[in-house]
Subunit: 385 residues, 2 copies
């Protein structure tokens, strides 16, 4: 048996034999929330035996982590959550190595003057490259967040998972979990030479505590596996690309709920989320003047409504795609069913907790994962208080 | 050729030969909005030759008209629309014969005291039958609308269509319309002996004015046929039945956005609409503790949230159904994409107008149809001003 100081074991494929060593905690899902929770659990309770597992890799490839905007801004959290958000910002800067953290002011364009707004024209003077993107006439006022930073949430999740393993957590990849009372059933998956994913072997793990960190799929697993109904919902968000040059000095721009994030020399667009998608909705592309697009219609309508303020959206610089697979997209959890619900955790049944990130995970995800880890290990006090 | 005084012709099936007599106006869709528009057009401009047509019967069976709550309440329109709504109420009482108009106070339950609220317990004293339905503790305050009336929107549509024909409008049923510049293409439908709906014959009608009154399908037709994009949306609303006895004296109850309308000796539930359904959504039933229901999940969640205030929702009196077809439902237009958008009309292309009812059609639908008829015929002034 490994001591808390020794690194944990990693099972990446079914060729590596597994015997259940007996776990105190199993974290299901190695996206940003699950990996962070595992990381903080190792910090706070190194004596507990921990397993982090995912149906895919580390970080989980299928969910919202990879497509998360990776934008920390003080404009996003509710005022009462700002101290917590500041702690997250400090963690991003110090705790995870190179996560491509870049200081990038956020320019939030608006139609009306507010107390802390300045003329958009003055902002354009400071960031001349934005002249190619926005029309200062349409949204003549702007609020600046000078403390905004961008980063890669996938890199944070990877670092969290790696640090957890270094401190003794075990990690199992390519393993599907079903929640059962008192633990989890895991199916170790493999791919046949006809490219079919099949179950190689099944294990029943008992664990006093199970953390369900499956992103938008978490509430469904809670209901399907454990019979616990929750009020959470989900929405399918696509992040289309806008091929207009951006540099290290290009700020993040927000207009009408749309965020334009300078990335890879261009922009990634992060559309607003207005509300949940209904149960059973199958994401699909829309049409623009009869031509099929990969972008869903609701997002297309939002972009069309912004073409005055962001004229470049009306050009070929916007990658609309021809079918759904052309535009990166993922299901996003909506905690509490709310389009701006903050990350949260909640008990499901005796010994099982749900951990949800969602639209504000960039700003409050790490702290929420910490909060659950601290609650599970009886640690009082939170570092942001 | 018929004079304005003579009744119009009715083509109900393809056995009746049709030759285009030349129309000034074609109204596409014989639901509540299209029928009312045809009715007012005959009133305001009897010299114009008019055709009302529908893919089904009169009233149109497939849309929201048949399932509309048929509830007029002064609590529903915006304050600035109240005079208009009052005119609609007067029309309902006087202009359409027997539409099952019944005076039925509306009891709107609420958690907090407002200026015009009274204790729910006092309301229960006046309407003792409600004690079987609601718990006065959960929502202790109530606002009363003593002027509320219930009626049958389908009967109003039928009366409108019949009056229009009596005054000279032609009516064609079982005819599908495609909007084309300057008129409509109509396909007269028939059913083969293998129950297949097929096109029997096609006509191209020229008309100076076309009114598109296709309900939730109108905006799609405008975009698909005419290439005109609009901001309107739609939502699928189901009206489940609650088998608790109601009488002529039972008021209409509203709690948390849900309306319980006494009907046929029980109640029809009219769930709240929170937002549009996305493009491509296919309505489907949900699950309650693992059992499939005919009720969509979002509505199910709303009802579960109200079980404290309306305990009878937690009993077998609520007809959940087993599949979608068990629970009556229809697509509802959301004018402007808004869950509470008021009825409206708008020009589409030269000579084509869109007419939309939606969630507030019970209160402002007739007046909006009148307004379009008056605008199309150059009539100044509106009777509610």
């Amino acid at each position: 048996m490994s001591t808390p100081q020794a690194a944990g074991q990693v099972w990446a494929h079914v060729g590596q034999a597994f015997t259940d060593p007996g776990y105190d905690v199993v974290v299901v899902g190695a996206g940003r929330m699950g990996s962070a929770c595992a990381h903080f659990l190792r910090q706070l309770a190194p004596q507990q035996k921990l397993l982090l597992l995912d149906e895919g890799g580390l970080p989980s490839e299928d969910g919202a982590t990879i497509l998360a905007p990776g934008l920390w801004s003080a404009l996003d959290p509710a005022p009462e959550d700002l101290a917590e958000a500041n702690w997250v910002r400090q963690q991003l800067a110090t705790a995870f190595g190179d996560v491509s953290l870049e200081s990038r002011p956020l320019v939030a364009l608006q139609a009306r003057k507010t107390a802390d707004a300045q003329p958009t024209a003055a902002v354009l003077h400071r960031f001349p490259s934005l002249a190619e993107v926005i029309d200062p006439q349409a949204l003549p006022w702007a609020t600046l967040d000078e403390r905004a930073v961008t980063y890669r949430p996938g890199a944070v999740a990877l670092s969290c998972g790696q640090q957890a393993v270094r401190r003794g957590a075990d990690l199992m990849l390519n393993a599907r979990a079903t929640l059962v009372p008192g633990g989890v059933k895991i199916e170790r998956l493999t791919v046949t030479n006809t490219h079919e994913v099949v179950t190689h072997e099944t294990h029943h793990l008992r664990a006093a505590r199970v953390v369900v960190a499956l992103g938008a799929a978490g509430p469904h697993a809670a209901e399907h596996d454990l019979g616990v109904h929750t009020a959470h919902a989900r929405a399918y968000r696509q992040a289309p690309r806008l091929n207009v040059p951006s540099t290290r000095d290009t700020p993040v721009v927000r207009a009408g709920g749309l965020t334009l994030r300078a990335q890879h020399g261009g922009f990634t667009l992060v559309p607003p989320i207005h509300h949940r998608d209904p149960y059973g909705y199958v994401p699909q592309g829309g049409h623009l003047t009869g031509v099929p697009t990969g972008l869903r219609r609701e997002t297309l309508e939002d972009l069309v409504a912004l073409m005055d303020a962001v004229p470049v959206l009306a050009t070929e610089a916007l990658e609309l795609g021809r079918s759904l697979s052309d535009v990166p997209g993922a299901w996003l959890a909506l905690p509490g069913g709310l389009a701006r619900g903050r990350p949260l955790h909640q008990p499901l049944t005796e010994g099982a907790w749900l951990l949800l990130g969602g639209p504000q995970a960039d700003v409050l995800g790490l702290s929420t994962a910490y909060d659950l880890a601290a609650a599970l290990t009886g640690v009082a006090g939170r570092p942001w208080h």
